[in-house]
Symmetry: C2
Subunit: 343 residues, 2 copies
DNA sequence: CGCACATGCTCATGCGCATTAGCAAGGAGG
DNA sequence: CCTCCTTGCTAATGCGCATGAGCATGTGCG
């Protein structure tokens, strides 16, 4: 095993001091006064030896390392969750590449009961300059504690709580806009099937949808597939006399759509459907739901950018990014929302 | 922001020296002689303060950090390549979680001309204890250089070259077995559409397939879709009088299958097809090719395990893992290989 | 000709930890 | 009572780097 090439070694080869090598590599223009000839000599030696600075030493000496931690509350890669994480990671990776930062995935925190805990593994957090938190639901206490410790982080998704930096999606507006379309189509009774309202994103969707519908006196019954069966949802639709079924989760929407077809209920001629989300991977045979489309790749990239700015300060020329920001969602017309007909 | 808690601080609170704290935390039983009372006092203080060691300092002092680097030659997450990387990363993540290691993704190395370079100026490779290298093709020189530097790494996929640790897939055997089925089905002329033979995995497939076919005097014409069009491939099939079309890449296989259908050539009644790979995400409308199926999740996990063993030595009870290992692929009968008929 | 000042570099130090050498105190053995 | 060994701890050092202080030269100016 070849002995490690250090700045000291470079210095010897170039006939200068270790300090000079360090200054050549990262001396500020003003404070360091190294003539071009010396600088070039050092750089030549560095190129010959393919020297790379030891990141551990840099960090110990008080440098940022351009290392951003990624904490996912569930496994990041398996296909069950990849629909959720993959587009975010895509955006994060591409932004990270542009910014020149590496990504530290905190996989060592074991997933217990389907969730990871940050604080248990706080130790590793310190290696990264800051951290991106991903997950549908997060523990507010943990977040608060982390925030108070002064550790820089940004969450992907809007979060309740003080002084937390996040980039989220404007589900509330988009859901309200879809509600408006439902109203314009003349519907008077709706059923909304949602996920757990523990997540801010789910509350935002529910709020946007229901507030708008209620303001036009459209009646809304709600249900959660976690609690009731598909059949019970269909029964609810019938008993409520609903003409439109709004579903938060696109996968559940497909399940319900299939169940409707099996029961002989045609969409949208007999029942309209509206979905408050979208599969991230377009399927070959996907149903063209009337839905909202969330810019998740952009979301990942924006979160990365905000964290980077938090760590490195605002670019001279640029304006600072807002500490909390909602990205707009697109509405997709689709073909599952029709004019309401009396039933 | 609270000042960082260090061993020094712990030492003051416990009324001992920094050395003692370090010894309590990781002194070997024999060399350190700390009475239970002192040990307990130190541990109590550590618990109260939630002290954790700075990983950068540990590394600088020559310690391993349970950090494994992941280097991908292309972007890891976008959907174009995710078919390739996702199953590997799934296996890696789950193995990493079991072993308690974090994953450092080297995203800062910019992708140039579609490829990343391992050894660039600010490479943070050394922050990780060791590294997993993923990619279809790798630069042999870079690999050799890295190997000589003594940096521990394992490549996912078989590699030519001395002293390189890898875990690969036994494409050669599996391809040969598929060739045997082709022979048993009475085919005498074949066309093989493959990817660039720069990759070891592609060479293995080509070798296994062609050696076996040739040994039974089955004629094989080869082509690469990078060089020729789909139409030219179909022309080649006709002009060669082939009764079976073997395709390395599953996506290309789908393209060719569609082209055949468009031309009115029925598979497998008029032309058999055999594929030397598989989409990692089963599509809804996927064609049930006669093919080989590669255990890619297991591959990722095995590579992680080998690297971990390289870094931490062999477990007492266990046998050591081989430094180079091929995992067997499964054969899937499918429905696209039929008995040859005279044309 | 002497002083101020700029230029080009080096010395010394510390980041937080692991580790080696070794010191002081106490007990056993002769 | 002196030696030798053990026990319980600490001082000192170095890992590779960044950085503030500072030391020689040279150069301009009065």
């Amino acid at each position: 095993m070849a002995p490690r090439v250090t700045q000291q070694r470079i210095a010897e080869l170039a006939g200068v001091s270790q300090t000079t090598v360090s200054l050549v590599l990262n001396g500020k223009e003003d404070s360091a006064r190294i003539p071009e000839a010396t600088r070039q000599r050092v750089l030549d030696v560095i190129n010959e030896t393919t020297y790379v600075a030891d990141p551990a030493a840099r960090r110990l000496a008080g440098q940022a390392n351009n290392l951003v931690g990624i904490f996912t509350y569930e496994h990041a890669f398996p296909s069950e969750t990849s629909d959720f994480y993959t587009p975010l990671l895509t955006g994060i990776e591409s932004a990270a590449e542009q910014l020149g930062v590496d990504l530290l995935m905190f996989t060592s925190a074991p997933v217990v009961d389907g969730r990871r805990k940050i604080l248990h593994e706080r130790s590793r957090l310190r290696l990264a300059d800051g951290c991106l938190l991903l997950g549908r639901e997060m523990d507010a206490d943990e977040l608060q504690q982390l925030s108070e410790s002064g550790y820089p982080f940004v969450t992907v998704g809007r979060r309740d709580g003080e002084n937390i930096r996040w980039v989220g999606l404007d589900y509330k507006s988009a859901s309200a806009d879809l509600a408006s379309r439902i109203i314009e189509a003349g519907h008077r009774r709706a059923v909304y099937v949602h996920l757990s309202l523990n997540a801010e994103s789910s509350r935002d969707r529910a709020d946007g949808l229901i507030e708008r519908l209620s303001s036009s006196d459209v009646a809304v019954e709600t249900a959660q597939l976690k609690d009731v069966s598909v059949e019970q949802v269909l029964d609810l639709v019938v008993s409520a006399g609903a003409t439109v079924l709004v579903v938060e989760d696109p996968t559940e929407a497909e399940t319900l759509h299939a169940a409707l077809r099996a029961k002989g209920i045609a969409v949208p001629s007999q029942l309209s459907m509206v979905v408050l989300g979208e599969r991230s991977r377009p399927q070959d045979q996907a149903i063209d739901f009337t839905r909202l489309s969330a810019p998740r790749i952009a979301l990942g990239a924006a979160a990365m950018a905000l964290l980077h700015e938090t760590l490195n300060g605002v670019d001279e020329a640029e304006e600072g990014l807002p500490e909390q920001q909602l990205l707009p969602c697109a509405l997709i017309d689709g073909s599952t929302l029709a004019q309401a007909t009396a039933r």
